[in-house]
């Protein structure tokens, strides 16, 4: 049996490597900047967790990977596709935050010369949530979850950090609690391409897993970043900047004002969560999967501000 497993693993690795990359889209959206578009869906076995946008920036000496996907399988596909497009070694794997669809592929990139990079709070978030994510996603992902491990960053960003890929500098910025408590953005200065992680949702309804007010504030700060295009965490692969922020800001503003009105009126959280933000329903996908949650957490946050 052991021999059969080893033989099978050897054969599957040696045979399937080219086909790993084949089904995986990875486009050059600007010179030396690559992006992959995830599906707008919830993670499941059928989509192997491939629901988030991923990216890579290639310098003269090295490559930086931005997020790794929602399973080890997807991470390996991404790695294989990237190796076909870029001959340089991967030096950094940057995680934009702690959510499973962005980090479950990390294991595919673990190698002696690869440094994992994240927000100063990312190790803490992975410690608090990693085990729960591994357990709770088994039901939806089935065997597609096999082999997923939690890989934490060894290089963390307090505020900003510049990494050099060889003739190409990228700027990492750690933000206050907003979408989550460990959001990081990556700006490629040469092409003005911003990887916003889940600080930017397009088409996919924004998800608030940190602070509603923080998210609104950070969205305003983000708009000042001198970029020309953005890769959102979810939605189209690339979008114009900063116009891409408009829909998200409209949603977060509406949700906040609805919740504030409900709290002022004395509504309870369950009633408020059923109606807040509903006028935005038509503009977003997966609205019913996340709006109630955003409203529930937003209510609990905003009621501390009430008189």
């Amino acid at each position: 049996m052991v021999r059969c497993v080893i033989l099978a693993l050897f054969l599957s690795l040696s045979c399937t490597k080219p086909s790993l990359a084949e089904g995986f889209s990875l486009e050059e959206i600007a010179p030396g900047v690559f992006a992959h578009q995830g599906q707008t869906a919830l993670m499941n076995g059928g989509n192997i967790g491939d629901i988030a946008n991923l990216g890579a920036i290639v310098g003269d000496d090295a490559v930086a990977v931005i997020d790794t996907g929602g399973s080890l399988i997807e991470g390996r596909q991404f790695l294989a596709a990237l190796q076909q497009k870029a001959a340089k070694p991967i030096r950094y794997v940057i995680n934009t935050h702690a959510h499973p669809d962005h980090i479950f592929g990390n294991g595919a990139f673990v190698a002696p010369d690869v440094t994992f990079v994240g927000h100063r709070n990312l190790p803490r978030a992975l410690a608090a949530r990693g085990q729960f994510y591994l357990e709770s996603f088994r039901a939806a992902m089935g065997e597609a979850l096999d082999g997923v491990t939690i890989v934490a960053p060894t290089l963390t960003v307090d505020e900003t950090m510049t990494l050099d890929m060889g003739g190409r500098k990228i700027v990492l910025t750690a933000w206050r609690t907003s979408h989550s408590d460990c959001d990081l953005t990556v700006l490629d200065q040469r092409t003005g391409t911003l990887f916003a992680g889940d600080l930017l949702f397009l088409q996919h309804v924004p998800v608030v897993d940190g602070s509603l007010l923080g998210f609104l504030d950070v969205a305003e700060q983000l708009a000042k970043i001198p970029a020309t295009r953005v890769v959102p965490g979810h939605g189209p692969m690339v979008a114009p900047w900063p116009k891409a922020l408009d829909d998200e800001r409209a949603y977060l503003t509406r949700l906040t004002s609805d919740l504030r009105a409900a709290i002022k009126k004395g509504d309870n959280v369950a009633d408020a969560a059923r109606v807040a933000g509903q006028s935005e329903r038509g503009g977003w996908r997966l609205f019913d999967d996340y709006n109630g949650r955003n409203a529930t957490a937003g209510f609990a946050e905003l009621e501390w501000d009430a008189p």
Binding site: L11, P18, A128, G130, A152, S211
Partner: protein, 266 residues
């Protein structure tokens, strides 16, 4: 490549056989057993419970946010003394045990809990004569990246023990409605750090007492199933007292106290 691929057939077949064994093993994993009989024994000494209308539980069929699931206990029995909220499948199922003052007149209690997985939620009400009344509801866990963890750990630590009091117009005659909020991460201690394999230490509110003047409205003994920033909204029968006082204790020995004037309108 061609050479190794020519051997692909038998290799893949062997691989599938191995997978097959694995799948069978997974399929045979039994569903989690119903923990309620053990919980009823441990928490209520297996005393008989009437599943009747003397108590009702308002809970969502699907938890929107695993960390903040609103629950309302409607307490209708005369001679109400205690009410216990149990999240059967949580690591620490006893979420909150409320004890009510003799003439407190509490008719409902809303709070917020964490829900780890698909679970039954029980509310058990005890009256002065020792009779138990119970209701149960099934709650589906939240999907996606929703975790029963603290959302903003920096914020939680910075404001530890801060409290807020709100009053609302009561729809019931002879009752007032109030809300007590306490800033606290209510860290569960059940999360294992995947990197160090150490458990993050628990730190949570384990006792709260709320009084009007000197009279007890309710006290609560709670655990890690209560959401961060424990929150209680309830009705009570006013006794004419001018102030509401709250005393809360946590598992690190911190004591948080606060007092507010009771408003004139009810």
């Amino acid at each position: 490549m061609t050479k190794s691929c020519s051997r692909r057939g038998p290799g893949v077949a062997a691989f599938l056989v191995c997978l097959g064994f694995w799948s069978v093993a997974v399929a045979q994993t039994p569903a989690p057993p119903d923990p309620w009989p053990d919980l009823a024994r441990d928490l209520f000494q297996s005393r008989p419970m009437a599943m009747d209308e003397a108590v009702a539980l308002e809970a969502p069929t699907r938890a929107e946010d695993a960390a903040i699931v609103p629950m309302t206990l409607h307490l209708k029995a005369a001679g109400l003394r205690q009410a216990t909220l149990v999240i059967d499948q949580n690591p620490m199922p006893m979420a909150a045990a409320f004890t009510f003052g003799e003439n407190a007149g509490v008719t409902f209690m809303s709070t917020r809990v964490r829900v780890n997985s698909y679970t039954n939620v029980h509310v058990v009400e005890e009256t002065g004569d020792g009779a138990l009344h119970a209701q149960v509801k099934f709650v589906k866990a939240a999907g996606g990246c929703s975790a029963p963890a603290v959302k903003n750990l920096d914020e939680a630590a910075a404001h530890l023990g801060q409290m807020k009091y709100r009053e609302f117009k009561s729809v019931e005659a002879g009752r007032r409605e109030a809300q007590i909020m306490i800033r606290h991460p209510n860290n569960s201690g059940m999360q294992m750090d995947q990197l160090t394999h150490l458990y993050i230490p628990a730190h949570y509110i384990d006792k709260v007492e709320v009084r009007q003047g000197g009279d007890l409205i309710f006290s609560m003994e709670g655990g890690i199933s209560l959401s961060e920033d424990p929150n209680f909204r309830f009705s009570y029968a006013p006794n004419g007292a001018k102030t509401i006082t709250v005393e809360a204790h946590d598992t690190k020995g911190n004591v948080f106290k606060q007092e507010w004037p009771i408003g004139e309108a009810s």
